[in-house]
C-alpha cells in the first residue's frame, strides 16, 4: 500500500512514537483495528513491533473501509497533515484493472505503483517459489534507472500475497559503498530478519572466516524467524562494493543455496557482478533489464483510463506520460512516478 518513501517516513515516526511508551505493545494494539491487534506477536522490541504492525496492516489491505493502515496512522498521528496526505493516497484501492491470478503477473501493485513488462524477471522470481529452484540466486542487471531497484516493489507486492515470505532489502546509497562494510551489511540484514543485532559475532579471526561467521549468523536468524525471507542486496556493484564486504555476499550466497536454508530463503542481487560468485554455472538466474517499450506503457495507460471511464483521454495521456523518453524507456523510476501521478489524478 505504502510506497517505499512513505514507508520509511511512517516507520521512523512510529518507532519514535512507540519507543518511549510505558507499554509499547499496548499502545500499538490500542491504535490498531481490533482484528489486527489480536494478531500482534507478543514480546517484540519497539522496532520489530512497529514493523509487524505495518505488515499486518499491509496484509489486511482494503478488506476494511477505511483501510486498517489509515485507521492505524490517523489514530497514532491525528493532527499530522503529512499522515493525512498519506492516508488520502492509500484510502482508495488501486484502479480496477483485471486482477491477475498470480501476483507475479501484476501490472498494478497494491501500493498503486505500476509494474510493467519484465517478463523474464517475473519468471525468475516466480521460480524462486519452488522448494528447490534450479536457479536459487537471481541477479538483475541493467543501466541506471532501468528498474533494478524498482524490482523490489514487485517483490514487496508478492510478499503481501504470500504472507509467509518476508522481504529484506538493503540498498547501497550512491557513492557511499565505501562506508558499507561487512558488519554494517550483516547488521541491517539481521535487523530486517527480526534478529538481535547485539549478537553479531565479533571479529576474532581472519576476515574470510569472519565473513563466514557473519553469513551463518544471518542464516541462523532467518531460520529462527519462522518466515521465509527474500534477501535483496541492491546496488553492490563494482564501484560501490567494498573489498571486505564481497566475501560476506559470497558466503551468504553459498549458505543460502545449501542445506535447510535453501528450502526457505532466497537471494536476489541487483547490479552485482555475478562472476564473483562461486556458484555452479547454471544455478544463477541472470537478467539484464532492457528498459520498457513505449508500446507496453501505452497499453497500460489505455487500460487504466478505460477502467476510469476516460478512454478518450488515452492518446493525450500516453503522450504526456512518455514525452521526453527514448524507446525503450530506461528511466523507469521517473516513468513510475508519472504513472503513479496519473493514477492518483484520475482517482
Amino acid at each position: 500500500m505504502l510506497t517505499s518513501d512513505d514507508y520509511i517516513l511512517v516507520e521512523t515516526k512510529l518507532i519514535e512514537l512507540v519507543t518511549p511508551q510505558a507499554s509499547p505493545r499496548q499502545f500499538v494494539a490500542a491504535n490498531l483495528p481490533e482484528w489486527i491487534a489480536a494478531r500482534l506477536t507478543e514480546g517484540l522490541p519497539p522496532v520489530l513491533l512497529v514493523q509487524a504492525a505495518l505488515r499486518l496492516c499491509e496484509e489486511d489491505g482494503y478488506n476494511a473501509s477505511p483501510p486498517s493502515m489509515c485507521t492505524f496512522l490517523l489514530n497514532c498521528f491525528p493532527l499530522r497533515p503529512e499522515f493525512k496526505a498519506i492516508c488520502d493516497k492509500i484510502r482508495t484501492p488501486p484502479p480496477a484493472l483485471p486482477p491477475p491470478a498470480d501476483p507475479f503477473d501484476a501490472i498494478m501493485l497494491s501500493n498503486k505503483l505500476p509494474f510493467l513488462g519484465r517478463l523474464a524477471v517475473r519468471a525468475h522470481l516466480r521460480a524462486l517459489m519452488q522448494n528447490s529452484p534450479p536457479r536459487p540466486v537471481v541477479v538483475i542487471k541493467g543501466l541506471g534507472g532501468a528498474g533494478k531497484t524498482y524490482t523490489t516493489e514487485l517483490i514487496n507486492h508478492i510478499c503481501r500475497t504470500h504472507t509467509d515470505i518476508v522481504p529484506c532489502h538493503i540498498e547501497v546509497p550512491k557513492d557511499q559503498g565505501i562506508s558499507v562494510g561487512p558488519a554494517d551489511l550483516a547488521r541491517d540484514i539481521v535487523l530486517q530478519l527480526g534478529g538481535d543485532v547485539d549478537k553479531m559475532p565479533a571479529q576474532q579471526t581472519n576476515a574470510d572466516r569472519w565473513a563466514q561467521e557473519l553469513a551463518i549468523w544471518i542464516v541462523n536468524t532467518a531460520q529462527k524467524s519462522g518466515f521465509k525471507h527474500w534477501i535483496v542486496l541492491d546496488g553492490f556493484n563494482k564501484a560501490e562494493l567494498r573489498r571486505d564486504t564481497l566475501p560476506l555476499i559470497v558466503k551468504l550466497s553459498l549458505q543460502l543455496t545449501r542445506g535447510m536454508a535453501s528450502r526457505s530463503h532466497r537471494l536476489i542481487l541487483t547490479d552485482f557482478d555475478h562472476t564473483s560468485l562461486p556458484i555452479i554455472p547454471g544455478n544463477i538466474a541472470i537478467e539484464t533489464i532492457p528498459g520498457l517499450g513505449k508500446a507496453a506503457v501505452a497499453e497500460f495507460v489505455t487500460q487504466l483510463l478505460a477502467a476510469a471511464g476516460r478512454q478518450e483521454d488515452a492518446p493525450a495521456m500516453i503522450a504526456g506520460v512518455t514525452e521526453d523518453f527514448a524507446d525503450p524507456i530506461q528511466d523507469l523510476r521517473e516513468l513510475g512516478g508519472r504513472l503513479n501521478d496519473l493514477i492518483e489524478l484520475i482517482g
Binding site: A120, H124, S179, A207, Q212
Partner: protein
C-alpha cells in the same frame, strides 16, 4: 467529491508534478538542517538540531527525507545519512562561508555525534590533523576514502588521492593474510630463504642495481608440509608481509587461497580463479598507464568468466549443441578460461613491474590448508592440476606455494614433480627464543623446551600454561616420557597441554563440559541439555541454564567457532589431540557420550549437519554397516571431511563408497566386487567430468567383471561413445542386457537401453528404433515422466517425419503431465521435445511455453539468426501477434510476440525459433533417473552424465 479534471488540466498537472520532481529544492528551514547534517556521517533526524534557529519549526525527518537515505548498518538506531551530492554541496557552502572554522562551529551544534570511523577522520581533518597513510590501519583508510568522496580533498589538507589509493591497495592486500602474521614469529631462516629463492627475490643491494626478480622460468609448485602447529601458515604470512610493501627488495602480486574457505571448491577450479582475481585486482587497480591496462585485463577476464559460465551451463544441459563431444567441449571451455587467467596474470605482472620500475615480476598463488583436499581422490584434483599446468604454460612466471599437513600424494605439473619443503620443529635456540618472547623466563624456557620439543604450537600452549602456573624446571606433572625412555607422542603432549589450558576456564560447569564436549565435535544448546549435562554429571538442567552454558562456551573462541544451525564446532587443532587423550584415558566416557549423541540425533528431523554427526559417531564406534544403512544423505560429505583421519580403515572404505577419498591401492584390489564398483565408479565419473574418457576407460578396465546391475556399464558405454567407439559400446551393452536380471533396477536398465540406442543411432543401425521401443516401455514404469519424454522425443528425432504413428500424441500427453519443477529443471529437454512435437499441438506448446520463455529469450538475444529467415518467421505471425512486435529484427522480440498471446498461427514461429537452437540429445544421459541412483553418483553427476 471534486469534479474530475479535464483532459487539459490533467495533462498540465502531470507536467507540473514532473517538473517539481526534477527541480527539488529545499526551503530555508530544511537547508539549515542540511547544513547541520553535512558534518555528521550518520545522525538521528529526530535529534538533529538545525545550523541556525528556525522561525517556524519543521520536522527534520520530513525536511531531509529526500536528501537522506537510511544509513546501512544503523537502521537499528533509525540513523540516516545525507546523499553524497547533497553533502558535497553543503560542505562546499560551509567551506566558502568560513572554511574549517565554520565547519567546526556547525559541528558543535549537535552534541550527540555517532562516532564512526568516517566521523573520526572528518573531525581530524576539520581539526587540521596531518594524515600519515603509512600508519593508518584499514578501517581508518576506509573512513578517509569516504571523506574523499565527499569532496573534502578539494579543500586541501588530505594526502594526494593517488597515494591514498595505493595505500589502500597495500592495506587490502595485507588484510587478506593479516591474520597469519605472527608478531612473535621466530626462526625459520632457512625456510624463508627457500621461499625467496623460489619466488626469485634478490637481496636489497642487487634489487637496487637490477630491479628485477630472477629465475622466472617455469617452476613446479613448492609444497610446504608438516604436522599441524609446526608453523606453515605463520611462515607464509611472514614471507608475504616481507614483500607486500618492500620498496627495497621488490614486491609481487599474490593471492592467498585457503582451502578451508567455503568459497573455494577444488572440483570447480573456476572458483579458485575468481577468488584469486578479486584479490589480485585489489593490488593493482586504479592509477594510469599499465595499471589501466591491468584493470582492462581484469574487466576482460570477468567478461570471459561470464561467457565461461554461460557455456558451461549450456553444456550441462541435457539437450545441447555439443552432442557427444560435450565432454571435450567442456574441457576446451575450461582451457580457454585458464589461458585467459594466464593473460590476466601477465598484465598484472606488468602493472606490478611498472609500479616499481622493475622487470620480471612474478605472481604468486598461495594455497593453504591443503589438507582439506589432500585426502580426496586423485581424480578430484585432476582439474586443479590441469588448471595450474595451463596457466603456467602460458605464464611461466607463475609461482605456486601449497601448504598443508602431511606429505602430498604424488603429483606433477607439466611433468615436473613439486619442490618439497618439509617443516620440522624449531631449533633449540629458536624454540627458547620464542618462549622468552612469550614471557616465559629463560631458565623455564629451556626446561620447557627439553620437555616438549620445538613445535611452535606446543610452545605457545606451554607458554599459556606458564602464564597461570609456576613452571620453574618445566611444566609440573607433564608426562613426556613413558618408563623414562620412550617419548610420549607429540599429539598426546599437546592434548595434555590443552587440557591444562581448559583447566583455567572460570565457570566450573563450562569447564566440566568443554573437555568431554570435544568428543562430540558439534554442540548445541539441546545437546548440552540432553546429552552432555546428564552424561558429565550435571544432571538435569533447565533450558535457561543450557542457554547460558552454550553462550559461555561460545566465548571460548580458542576452542569453538559458530556454525550454521546455531551450533558450536570445536576447532580441529584443539579437538584432535584432546580426543586422543580422552580415548586413552577415559574410553568408557567416550563411548557413553557417542552412544548418547547417536540416540539424540536419531530422533531429530533430518538435517545434513546432524546426520553427518550421527554417521561420524557410528563410524567411530565401528558399528556394523546395517546400522548405517539408509542414513546417508546427499551433501553430507562436506561435513565428514575432517573425520576421515579419525575413523578406521574399514570405515574409510565405507565412506569412500559415498564420498571422495583416496584409498591405498591395495584397498581397491581387496574390495569385493560391489564395493569396488562404488569406489571405482566415483573415480571414473570424476574423470569423465573433466572430459578424459580414455582415462575413465583405463580406470574401469582395472577389473573386467561386473555385478549384473552394475552402474559401470553405463559409464563405460558413455566413455566409448564420447570417443566414437560405437561398436565397443554396443558390444558391452548387449552383454549387459543379456545378463540383466528380470527384477533388476529399472532405472539402470533404462540407462543401458538409452546408451544402446545411442550407439545404434550413431552407427546408423536399423535396430535403433527397436531399442528405443524397449526403452519407452521400461521408462513407462519409472517414477518420473522425464525419462519417457526423452525416449519419445529421441525416437521422433530418429524417425524424422515418417512413421511417427501415435508417438506425437503420446509425447504431448506426457509433456502435459510434467510438474512445473521438472519442466524448470529440464528446460532444454522440454524445448527439444516441443521441437520434435512440432507445430500441430498448440495446446501443449501454449501450456509449456510460459516457464521456458525467459530462458529462450535470453538465448535468442545472443543468437544471430539469418535476417531473411527471421523475416519469413515474422511474415508467418498472425496480425494479432504481429501487433505486439516492437523490433522485428530481434529474434527474442519475435518470440515474445509469438508467445505472449500464443495462437495456433504463432505456434509454428515458436517451434521454428526453438529449433534454431539445433540441440541434440547425443552424448546425454537419460533424465529422471535420480531415484535409481546411488548417493556417490550425485557428486559429479550433473556434469559427467547430463
Amino acid at each position: 467529491m471534486a469534479a474530475p479534471l479535464s483532459t487539459g488540466d490533467l495533462l498540465a498537472e502531470l507536467r507540473r508534478r514532473t517538473a517539481a520532481r526534477e527541480s527539488l529544492s529545499l526551503d530555508e528551514s530544511s537547508y539549515f538542517y542540511l547544513l547541520a547534517a553535512s558534518v555528521l556521517h550518520v545522525f538521528n533526524p529526530a535529534q538533529l538540531k538545525p545550523w541556525l534557529p528556525l522561525a517556524k519549526p519543521v520536522d527534520p525527518l520530513k525536511a531531509l527525507l529526500d536528501s537522506t537515505v537510511p544509513a546501512v548498518g544503523w537502521r537499528h538506531l533509525a540513523l540516516r545519512t545525507l546523499k553524497v551530492e547533497e553533502r558535497r554541496s553543503a560542505l562546499r557552502f560551509l567551506w566558502n562561508l568560513g572554511g574549517r572554522q565554520m565547519m567546526k562551529s556547525v559541528l558543535t551544534i549537535n552534541s550527540t555525534v555517532v562516532r564512526t570511523q568516517v566521523q573520526t577522520v572528518l573531525e581530524r581533518w576539520i581539526n587540521g590533523d596531518h594524515f600519515d597513510l603509512a600508519s593508518m590501519n584499514y578501517d581508518e583508510l576506509i573512513g578517509l576514502g569516504q571523506v574523499y568522496d565527499w569532496g573534502i580533498g578539494d579543500f586541501g589538507g588530505l594526502p594526494e588521492r593517488d597515494k591514498f589509493e595505493e595505500a589502500l591497495r597495500r592495506r587490502s592486500a595485507v588484510s587478506v593474510f593479516e591474520h597469519l602474521v605472527d608478531a612473535e614469529f621466530t626462526g625459520r631462516d632457512r625456510e624463508l630463504q627457500v621461499l625467496r629463492d623460489y619466488v626469485g627475490v634478490v637481496s636489497p643491494s642487487i634489487w637496487q642495481r637490477l630491479r628485477s626478480f630472477y629465475g622466472l622460468e617455469s617452476k613446479p609448485p613448492l609444497v610446504l608440509w608438516g604436522p599441524g602447529g609446526v608453523g606453515k601458515t605463520a611462515l607464509v604470512g611472514k614471507f608475504l608481509l616481507e614483500h607486500v610493501d618492500a620498496p627495497e627488495s621488490g614486491w609481487f602480486p599474490f593471492a592467498y587461497l585457503p582451502f578451508d574457505s567455503e568459497s573455494l571448491d577444488i572440483q570447480q577450479p573456476f572458483t579458485i580463479l575468481i577468488a584469486a582475481c578479486d584479490q589480485l585486482t585489489a593490488q593493482i587497480e586504479g592509477g594510469s598507464g599499465p595499471n589501466n591496462t591491468a584493470s582492462a585485463a581484469v574487466s576482460s577476464f570477468k567478461r570471459l568468466v561470464e561467457v565461461y559460465r554461460d557455456e558451461r551451463a549450456q553444456l550441462q544441459e541435457r539437450a545441447n549443441r555439443g552432442g557427444r563431444l560435450r565432454g571435450a567441449q567442456r574441457a576446451a571451455t575450461e582451457q580457454s578460461l585458464y589461458i585467459a587467467f594466464a593473460n590476466l596474470l601477465n598484465r598484472i605482472g606488468k602493472a606490478a613491474s611498472s609500479q616499481q620500475s622493475a622487470s620480471n615480476v612474478p605472481v604468486l598463488l598461495v594455497f593453504d590448508t591443503f589438507e582439506e583436499v589432500y585426502y580426496r581422490l586423485r581424480e578430484d584434483l585432476l582439474g586443479f592440476w590441469r588448471m595450474l599446468e595451463t596457466i603456467q604454460a602460458n605464464f611461466p612466471a607463475l609461482r605456486v606455494i601449497i601448504a598443508g599437513r602431511g606429505r602430498p600424494n604424488p603429483f606433477t605439473v607439466n611433468r615436473q614433480a613439486p619442490i618439497e619443503c618439509p617443516l620440522d620443529d624449531l631449533s633449540s635456540s629458536d624454540a627458547v627464543h620464542l618462549l622468552t618472547i612469550l614471557d616465559v623466563p629463560q631458565p623455564d624456557a629451556v626446561a620447557i623446551y627439553r620437555q616438549i620439543g620445538g613445535s611452535p604450537l606446543m610452545l605457545r600452549l606451554a607458554a599459556r600454561v606458564a602464564q597461570s602456573e609456576k613452571t620453574s624446571g618445566g611444566i609440573q606433572d607433564l608426562e613426556t616420557k613413558k618408563y623414562w625412555l620412550f617419548n610420549v607422542a607429540p599429539q598426546v603432549i599437546r592434548g595434555k597441554l590443552y587440557q591444562r589450558v581448559l583447566d583455567h576456564i572460570h565457570d566450573p560447569d563450562i569447564k566440566t563440559l568443554a573437555h568431554p564436549g570435544m568428543i562430540l565435535r558439534r554442540v548445541t544448546k539441546e545437546i548440552i541439555r540432553d546429552v552432555l549435562a546428564p552424561v558429565c554429571g550435571l544432571g538435569h538442567i533447565s533450558d535457561e541454564r543450557a542457554d547460558s552454558l552454550f553462550e559461555g562456551l561460545q566465548r571460548e573462541h580458542a576452542l569453538v567457532s559458530l556454525e550454521q544451525d546455531d551450533a558450536l564446532r570445536y576447532r580441529e587443532e584443539v579437538r584432535h589431540p584432546t580426543l586422543l587423550l580422552m580415548m586413552e584415558d577415559r574410553p568408557a566416557l567416550v563411548r557413553e557420550l557417542q552412544e548418547a549423541i547417536i540416540t539424540f540425533y536419531e530422533m531429530r528431523p533430518p538435517s545434513l549437519s546432524e546426520r553427518a554427526e550421527e554417521i561420524y559417531h557410528r563410524l567411530m564406534l565401528k558399528q556394523d554397516e546395517r546400522w548405517l544403512q539408509g542414513r546417508w544423505l546427499p551433501g553430507i560429505d562436506r561435513y565428514l571431511n575432517s573425520a576421515i583421519d579419525e575413523v578406521g580403515a574399514e570405515q574409510q572404505i565405507w565412506l569412500a563408497q559415498r564420498m571422495s577419498i583416496e584409498l591405498p591401492s591395495e584397498t581397491y584390489v581387496r574390495a569385493d566386487l560391489a564395493s569396488w564398483e562404488r569406489l571405482i565408479g566415483r573415480r571414473a565419473l570424476e574423470t569423465l567430468r573433466v572430459g578424459d574418457a580414455l582415462a575413465a576407460l583405463a580406470i574401469l578396465g582395472e577389473r573386467k567383471e561386473r555385478t549384473p546391475e552394475s552402474p559401470l556399464f553405463a559409464m563405460e558405454a558413455r566413455a566409448h561413445l564420447a570417443l566414437g567407439h560405437y561398436e565397443e559400446a554396443a558390444r558391452l551393452l548387449d552383454s549387459a542386457l543379456d545378463d540383466y536380471p528380470a527384477m533388476g533396477n529399472r532405472g539402470r536398465l533404462a540407462e543401458i537401453l538409452w546408451f544402446r540406442s545411442q550407439a545404434a543411432w550413431q552407427m546408423g543401425e536399423a535396430s535403433t528404433s527397436g531399442f528405443l521401443d524397449q526403452l519407452i516401455d521400461v521408462c513407462e514404469t519409472l517414477t518420473s515422466s522425464l525419462s519417457v519424454v526423452q525416449a519419445l522425443a529421441q525416437k521422433l528425432e530418429v524417425l524424422g517425419e515418417k512413421n511417427a504413428g501415435d508417438l506425437r500424441e503420446r509425447l504431448a500427453a506426457k509433456l502435459m503431465t510434467l510438474p512445473l519443477a521438472e519442466i524448470d529443471k529440464e528446460q532444454s529437454l522440454v524445448r527439444f521435445a516441443l521441437v520434435q512435437l512440432g507445430e500441430n499441438y498448440p495446446r501443449t506448446v501454449t501450456s509449456l511455453i510460459s516457464p521456458l520463455s525467459s530462458e529462450v529469450m535470453r538465448r535468442l538475444k545472443s543468437t544471430k539468426l539469418d535476417p531473411v529467415e527471421l523475416g519469413k518467421l515474422v511474415g508467418l505471425l498472425p496480425d494479432s501477434n504481429r501487433a505486439l512486435l516492437s523490433n522485428p529484427s530481434d529474434a527474442a522480440d519475435v518470440f515474445a510476440a509469438a508467445s505472449t498471446q500464443p495462437t495456433p498461427g504463432s505456434v509454428r514461429v515458436i517451434i521454428e525459433l526453438l529449433a534454431s537452437e539445433r540441440a541434440t540429445l547425443a552424448g546425454a544421459d537419460l533424465a529422471g533417473l535420480e531415484p535409481y541412483r546411488e548417493p556417490w553418483e550425485f557428486a559429479s553427476l550433473s556434469e559427467a552424465m547430463s
